[in-house]
């Protein structure tokens, strides 16, 4: 049986890396006595994977976990209760669905992600945002994972939307959708660094709060939350 679960990452858990979150879920599954399916081969691995890694220090209310069990019918409604008993404060399953057997992995469906980014207030933030988003190209150094070399890349096409909101005298919120997934990906921190560079301000990671608010996939020609794209039963 294939399942998809949506979870949040908050509080101190944002300081736990993606790999450590994987380990954490693997242990939770073991304690839940779920009969998880293992891959074959010389080095069996549990069939448990994540739609998209989340950077260290980022909050999220839209992370997705996919796993497969051997037979036995687990009702999706039970997953929330089963896991949340076993997960540490800060990681919480909020919804779960059963998926059709076979078919594409959920991670391959991810096309974009939406972020809520809180930054310290500065005057002319509106102009700065418009100027940044209005540019035809924004070159920035990006590590090419395949070659291991840093290359100059135009990230402007990877920014789908960018909208500033003022919260109070101290904070501004940027709502932004960015390319995400294995085909094309832009980390919001990379975008933010470029934004600060273009607007002439110093970037301080410690003063910024980044939260992923949705992971999106294509449904016809519309980007919709991942659970609407996955092959649910």
């Amino acid at each position: 049986m294939r399942y998809l679960a949506k979870f949040e990452k908050k509080g101190m858990m944002i300081y736990v890396s993606h790999l450590d979150i994987q380990r954490l879920f693997q242990r939770a599954v073991k304690r839940a006595k779920l009969d998880l399916k293992y891959s074959g081969g010389y080095s069996p691995h549990p069939r448990l994977s994540f739609a998209q890694p989340l950077s260290l220090g980022h909050y999220s209310i839209a992370e997705y976990l996919e796993f497969e069990t051997n037979g036995g019918h687990l009702h999706p409604g039970e997953i929330e209760g089963l896991f949340n008993r076993l997960l540490p404060a800060g990681v919480r399953i909020v919804d779960a669905w059963q998926l059709q057997e076979g078919g594409k992995s959920v991670s391959s469906l991810v096309a974009a992600a939406k972020y809520r980014i809180e930054i310290p207030f500065f005057f002319s933030y509106m102009e700065a945002t418009m100027d940044f988003f209005g540019r035809e190209s924004i070159d920035c150094d990006k590590l090419n994972r395949k070659t291991g070399r840093t290359e100059s890349v135009n990230i402007r096409p990877l920014i789908l939307s960018l909208k500033p909101l003022m919260v109070n005298d101290n904070r501004i919120v940027l709502i932004s959708s960015l390319h995400c997934g294995s085909a094309s990906n832009l980390n919001p921190e990379q975008m933010l660094k470029s934004f600060y560079r273009c607007s002439g301000h110093a970037y301080d990671r410690g003063a910024v709060r980044i939260e992923r608010t949705s992971l999106l996939g294509w449904s016809d020609d519309e980007l919709v939350p991942l659970e609407h794209v996955a092959n649910r039963i």
């Binding site: 509080g11 890396s17 954490l24 242990r27 080095s43 540490p88 500065f122 410690g206």
Partner: protein, 790 residues
């Protein structure tokens, strides 16, 4: 008045916060003799932003207030946008206090001056002129705040009664923030107000190393099992966090509740290796606890320590209130109960120490005084209080089966050195290697039954969800019925998808086949520890394995499919000659040849790692009197090996920093005068000395020099008093001396399971009848614990 004026609620809240802060700071300064009108500060700060929604709000507000006939208040309101302050604290006026308060608040919360300046700089980021002015003023203001704090004798936050800034605000700026996050599975959650004893287990190295130590799991859960006790943890902050905490004057805090360690009742350090001692001093300093036991007043926690290095406690004696020598499972709860009684009874600090000295295995250094002759040569330790024993006999837990074992160990959120659960299968070792302190001081051997081990293992896996289980002991292959145990655990592991990891195995053909079963196609690697290259030197250190046995085992392993083997040796051993070093090269070379032949063609090429560590003479061993080679001599020996081994294809050579081993030897046999050196080194910035990238030998040398202590780890007279003579490990000095003589004659002393060798421990040998032979093979894993030094 604010409401009548229609001032928005959020501005009113802001005014109230600024007022609160200005009054507290002003009040504290007034007490130190600065002349201030507190009523004026209160009124003006409450009203300073009365017209904030208007343009030029300071002037507008002043006009309004002046119109009501409050001229002095109006003056302050008018001037409250000022950013420059007098240089001297005595010159501070009411207006300055108001402005200072205003510069530390954002909206209605205190953020401190620095955060507020950051916000301002961000806001005026476009205006270079304004930015320069702000920065210049900020520098002056920071200097003024420092002067104020000096005069007040405490930080501004303390005056405000605020909790200090939290660790969390730094987490995005440090490496591996998960180290400081806490919140792990199976961590204790208790209301600190509901307990009478708050204990803090302190590990003087980083989180990932400390959390891989089984003792932490045992003691943590043992203490939290006591309803009156809440046990928390603290680890050494890594260099980056250390710096941020100092800059922000953040004290050392517990992981569970972020409580300053200083506020707890007992702080317990584990002494696992000598090169962590500078971290202990550093952690005490960061905690704000007086470094010397005698300087600790009634409010300070008791600082206690235990672990292997407590067997030679003198280098830390003046910094530690109570040492626990030997097994802690019984002694530590006894000490806690004593504390609870003492607290209920309301005695002085000395009363507790006096009572603690009565616990079996407890050493209270304050009740002993070291004596030196006119040349500064140590003459012995004299007991100066009858409440303490003449010699402190180490504590032994007789029955390991009934000793506490955690059923639900903590599961770290981040990857640690050993990301697995571990069960101790026996304590002690009967092999009698003459350099090995653990093998000497943890006698006698006490085995857990198979049923108890299996029960622990299954409980731990069920409660943690780990997929790897490790069996721990000093020499796992010596466990009675190891094959049956491993077979059973393997069956369980296959059922539950749990991998088995067995360090410290002897690799004879039987064990190899057993390992073959465990690892199957996933052969990770084997570590084998002949310790010395020649058979003669192996006899001198009491390693019984012969060359033939080594080569047979290597051939078997390579034939069964292992493609990588690690051989572990020591250099600088007593009686060692160049021939012994060359024998290491010869053994490596022949091993390589045999392994290649056994593996045959068409398979992944065989590789061999030769790992060499430097001999360090340790207390309570037959080699405790031996000299250590100088760092230069050790380096030359390593270079000889490197040269010889580099000619053999497929061999990788690893060796340890010789200066680190040198320092380890100096501390390991130090007396009470060593503490001054450690404190000075810590002051100079030494910490994480076992980490190559942090180790500063030059600063240590300076600390030795300044304190007039020699850096020669020379030989000791066997008749001389030793700084650890008052610690009774159960071993007779005559036994250690006779073992030393046998070493010089290269004579083996058999494993005492084959018959008592009269070491001095009166141990029951009923369940140790199984005959054992061969060398101590280790399965990869146990080396990792010290690989930070490689």
């Amino acid at each position: 008045m604010l409401r009548a004026n229609g001032t928005p609620e959020h501005v009113i809240r802001h005014c109230a916060t600024v007022s609160d802060i200005a009054v507290k700071i002003g009040g504290a300064l007034a007490k130190t003799g600065v002349s201030l009108d507190m009523g004026l500060i209160l009124s003006a700060s409450m009203l300073h932003d009365i017209c904030r929604t208007e343009k030029d709000h300071a002037l507008a507000g002043a006009r309004l207030i002046r119109g009501m006939g409050h001229g002095r208040v109006a003056d302050l309101v008018e001037g409250h946008m000022r950013h420059s302050f007098p240089e001297r604290v005595e010159d501070l006026r009411e207006i300055d206090i108001l402005c200072l308060g205003d510069r530390m608040v954002s909206e209605d919360s205190y953020v401190g001056f620095d955060r507020r300046m950051e916000d301002l700089l961000a806001r005026f980021g476009d205006d270079r002129g304004a930015m320069a002015a702000i920065s210049k003023n900020a520098k002056g203001t920071r200097a003024l705040i420092r002067l104020m704090e000096e005069r007040l004798g405490c930080g501004i936050e303390d005056v405000l009664g605020l909790p200090p800034p939290s660790i969390e605000s730094f987490l995005l700026r440090v490496e591996k923030p998960g180290r400081y996050a806490g919140g792990e599975l199976n961590a204790a959650k208790k209301d600190p107000r509901s307990v009478s004893l708050r204990f803090c287990l302190a590990f003087p190295d980083v989180y990932e190393i400390g959390m891989s130590w089984l003792g932490m799991q045992v003691l943590y859960h043992l203490l939290n099992g006591m309803p009156e006790v809440f046990c928390e943890r603290v680890f050494a902050p890594a260099a980056d966090m250390d710096r941020l905490m100092r800059e922000n004057r953040l004290p050392l805090m517990t992981l569970e509740t972020q409580t300053p360690v200083k506020a707890l009742d007992i702080l317990g350090f584990t002494l696992q290796y000598e090169l962590s001692f500078s971290n202990i001093i550093n952690m005490l300093g960061m905690a704000g606890i007086p470094l010397l036991s005698r300087d600790r007043g009634d409010g300070a926690p008791f600082v206690i320590a235990g672990g292997p290095c407590a067997f030679s406690p003198e280098p830390l004696a003046d910094a530690i209130d109570v040492f626990i020598i030997g097994d802690g499972e019984e002694a530590l709860p006894e000490l806690c109960r004593l504390f609870l009684d003492w607290k209920a009874g309301g005695g002085g600090r000395g009363d507790f120490l006096r009572a603690a000295a009565g616990i079996k295995g407890a050493y209270v250094p304050a009740f002993y005084r070291p004596e030196y002759d006119e040349n500064g040569v140590f003459q012995g330790l004299r007991r100066i209080d009858g409440c303490a024993p003449e010699r402190v006999r180490k504590r032994i837990v007789e029955d390991l089966c009934s000793a506490f074992t955690p059923s639900a160990p903590l599961v770290p959120l981040i990857e640690t050195v050993h990301d697995r659960t571990a069960v101790e299968i026996f304590r002690g070792c009967t092999r009698g290697c003459r350099f090995c302190q653990a093998g000497m001081v943890y006698r006698p051997v006490r085995e857990r039954t198979q049923a108890a081990i299996q029960k622990s293992a299954e409980e731990q896996i069920a409660n943690t969800g780990y997929d790897e289980l490790s069996l721990l002991s000093l020499s796992t292959g010596d466990y009675s019925g190891i094959e049956i145990l491993v077979t059973r655990l393997m069956e369980y592991g296959r059922r539950e998808n749990v991998a088995l990891s067995i360090p410290s195995l002897r690799l004879d053909s039987v064990t190899l086949r057993m390992l073959e079963g465990i690892q199957g196609y996933r052969k990770s690697g084997l570590t084998f520890a002949p310790e010395a290259g020649s058979q003669r030197l192996r006899r001198a250190i009491n390693k019984t394995i012969s060359d033939d046995e080594i080569f047979a085992a290597i051939g078997d392993a390579a034939g069964l499919g292992w493609s990588h083997i690690k051989l572990y040796f020591m250099v600088g051993l007593p009686t060692e000659t160049d021939e012994d070093l060359d024998a290491i090269i010869a053994v490596a070379e022949k091993s390589m040849r045999i392994a290649r032949a056994a593996r045959g063609k068409g398979r992944k090429p065989f590789s061999l790692t030769v790992s060499v560590s430097n001999f360090v003479p340790k207390a309570h061993t037959p080699f405790q009197w031996e000299a250590q080679d100088s760092p230069g001599a050790l380096l030359a020996k390593n270079a000889r090996l490197k040269e010889g081994l580099s000619r053999i294809k497929g061999i990788k050579f690893q060796y340890h920093d010789t200066r680190g081993s040198h320092l380890e030897a100096l501390i390991a046999r130090g007396d009470r005068r060593m503490l001054a050196v450690i404190m000075r080194a810590a002051e100079l910035g030494c910490r994480f000395d076992s980490w190559q990238e942090h180790f500063r030998y030059d600063l240590w040398a300076q600390a030795f020099e300044e304190n007039g202590l020699s850096m020669t780890a020379g030989g000791l007279d066997t008749r001389a008093a030793l700084p650890w003579d008052h610690i009774d490990s159960g071993l007779l000095k005559s036994f250690l001396l006779s073992e030393r003589e046998r070493a010089m004659a290269a004579t083996i002393t058999p494993d005492c399971r084959e018959g008592c060798i009269g070491c001095g421990l009166d141990c029951r040998s009923a369940n140790h009848e199984r005959r054992t032979a061969g060398g101590a093979w280790r399965h990869d894993g146990d080396m990792d614990e010290i690989s930070g030094q490689v």
